[in-house]
C-alpha cells in the first residue's frame, strides 16, 4: 500500500527529501518500515532511527495520520495515509 512518509529534522537531511511516497507491505509495522528505510538510507538515518540491535529508538517520535503512536510493533492499518518521523531537536 502507498503511504506518504514525512521526514523531520535530521532525518530529512539524512534522507535528502522532506517527504516521499513509499510502498509498504500489508501487515507492516513501524518497526519494519524503519528497518527498511534504514537499510536503504543507511548512515545517519539508521543511527537516529534504530539502536544497535535494529530496534527503533525510544527517542524517535512517530505519528500516524497526525497522532503519536508508541507501539512500534503494531500493524499499520491499511487506510493509513501518512507517517511522520520526528527525531528530537533542540536547536536555538
Amino acid at each position: 500500500m502507498a503511504v506518504i512518509i514525512h521526514y523531520r529534522g535530521q532525518l530529512a537531511s539524512a534522507m535528502g527529501v522532506d517527504s516521499e511516497e513509499v510502498n509498504i507491505e500489508q501487515s507492516s509495522s513501524i518497526r519494519s518500515v524503519l528497518q527498511e528505510l534504514s537499510a536503504r538510507a543507511g548512515g545517519a538515518f539508521a543511527e537516529i532511527a534504530l539502536d544497535n540491535n535494529g530496534v527503533p529508538r525510544r527517542t524517535l517520535l512517530v505519528a500516524i495520520d497526525g497522532e503519536q503512536i508508541t507501539d512500534f510493533r503494531m500493524e499499520i492499518a491499511s487506510d493509513v495515509k501518512e507517517i511522520t518521523l520526528i527525531p528530537p531537536i533542540a536547536g536555538g
Partner: protein, 250 residues
C-alpha cells in the same frame, strides 16, 4: 489596574477579543524565564517584552561571537565579546524600559536549576542541548510550573507546551537524551525567529487566557514548504521518571 502609559502602549492588543485589561494585567504580573537568548530565545524574549510581561529572566552563559549574528537578533556587531545576556537586556530595555530584566550569565546546571525555576512563573526552554532541556523539564514538573519548549533544526521547528500533571512532559515524549544530537546545527535566523514567535504566543496565551493553547500537541513548522501542522501526543506516560507519579487536581 492599567495606568495611562500601559493603556497607551498596549491599546492595539487590548482590542484583541478575549484579551483586554485582564490579559494585560496577567502578563504584567508574570515573571518569565527564558533559557538562552540566541536565535530562538532572543526574539522570543523580545516578543514577551513587547507584549508586556512584567519581569523577564534571561539565562545564557558566554559572550557574543561573530557566528551568532545570523540569528541572534537582540545582538549587535559592536557588542562582539560582551556577555550575551547583557546585550539582550540592553536591547529589551531600550525597547521598553519599564520591563524588569534579570540577567544570569550562566547556562542551566544542576547547581542553579532549582533556584532559577523558583524565580519564575513560566519557563521558555530555548536551549540547544538536551541535558539543559531535560533539567528544566524536571524542575518545572517538580515545581508544577508550565514550560514552553521550542526547538528547531534547519528549516523545521517545533513547539510544545508542558503543563505538569496535565500534558505529557518532555521526558514523556523523549524518554532519554538522544545520542545523535550535535551542538552545531544548521539554522537560518528567520526560521528560528519564526519558531520563537510561536513559542512566545503559546506562552502569552497560557498566561493571559486568550485563545487556545495547543496542550497535548506538538506544533510543527516546515519553513521550506511553509506548512504548519500538529501531532496529537499520546497521554502522559505513567512510567515517566519525571512526571509519572505527579497528581494534579484539575
Amino acid at each position: 489596574m492599567l495606568n495611562d502609559s500601559d493603556r497607551a502602549t498596549y491599546e492595539w492588543q487590548l482590542d484583541v477579543p478575549g484579551f483586554g485589561d485582564s490579559g494585560q494585567l496577567k502578563l504584567g504580573a508574570t515573571t518569565a524565564l527564558v533559557s538562552r537568548v540566541g536565535g530562538l530565545g532572543g526574539p522570543l524574549a523580545m516578543s514577551l517584552a513587547a507584549a508586556g510581561v512584567g519581569r523577564i529572566i534571561l539565562v545564557h552563559g558566554g559572550n557574543l561571537q561573530e557566528s551568532d549574528l545570523n540569528r541572534q537578533t537582540l545582538m549587535s556587531r559592536q557588542w562582539l565579546g560582551r556577555p550575551r545576556v547583557e546585550c539582550a537586556a540592553e536591547t529589551i530595555a531600550r525597547f521598553k524600559p519599564e520591563i524588569e530584566v534579570v540577567t544570569v550569565n550562566e547556562n542551566f546546571t544542576e547547581d542553579n536549576a532549582c533556584g532559577l525555576i523558583a524565580m519564575a512563573d513560566i519557563v521558555f526552554d530555548c536551549a540547544p542541548m538536551f541535558e539543559e532541556r531535560f533539567l528544566m523539564n524536571r524542575e518545572c514538573v517538580k515545581s508544577r510550573k508550565p514550560m514552553i519548549d521550542s526547538a528547531m533544526y534547519s528549516m523545521h521547528g517545533q513547539v510544545m507546551a508542558v503543563v505538569p500533571g496535565i500534558t505529557p512532559c518532555l521526558s514523556c515524549v523523549y524518554p532519554e537524551v538522544p545520542g545523535h544530537w550535535k551542538r552545531r546545527f544548521p539554522v537560518i535566523g528567520a526560521v528560528s525567529s519564526l519558531v520563537a514567535q510561536i513559542g512566545a504566543l503559546e506562552g502569552i496565551k497560557l498566561i493571559s487566557g486568550v485563545g487556545d493553547v495547543s496542550l497535548g500537541h506538538l506544533i510543527m513548522v516546515d519553513a521550506a514548504k511553509m506548512n504548519f501542522s500538529k501531532v496529537k501526543l499520546s497521554p502522559r506516560r505513567h512510567d515517566c521518571d519525571i512526571c509519572g507519579n505527579l497528581h494534579v487536581n484539575v
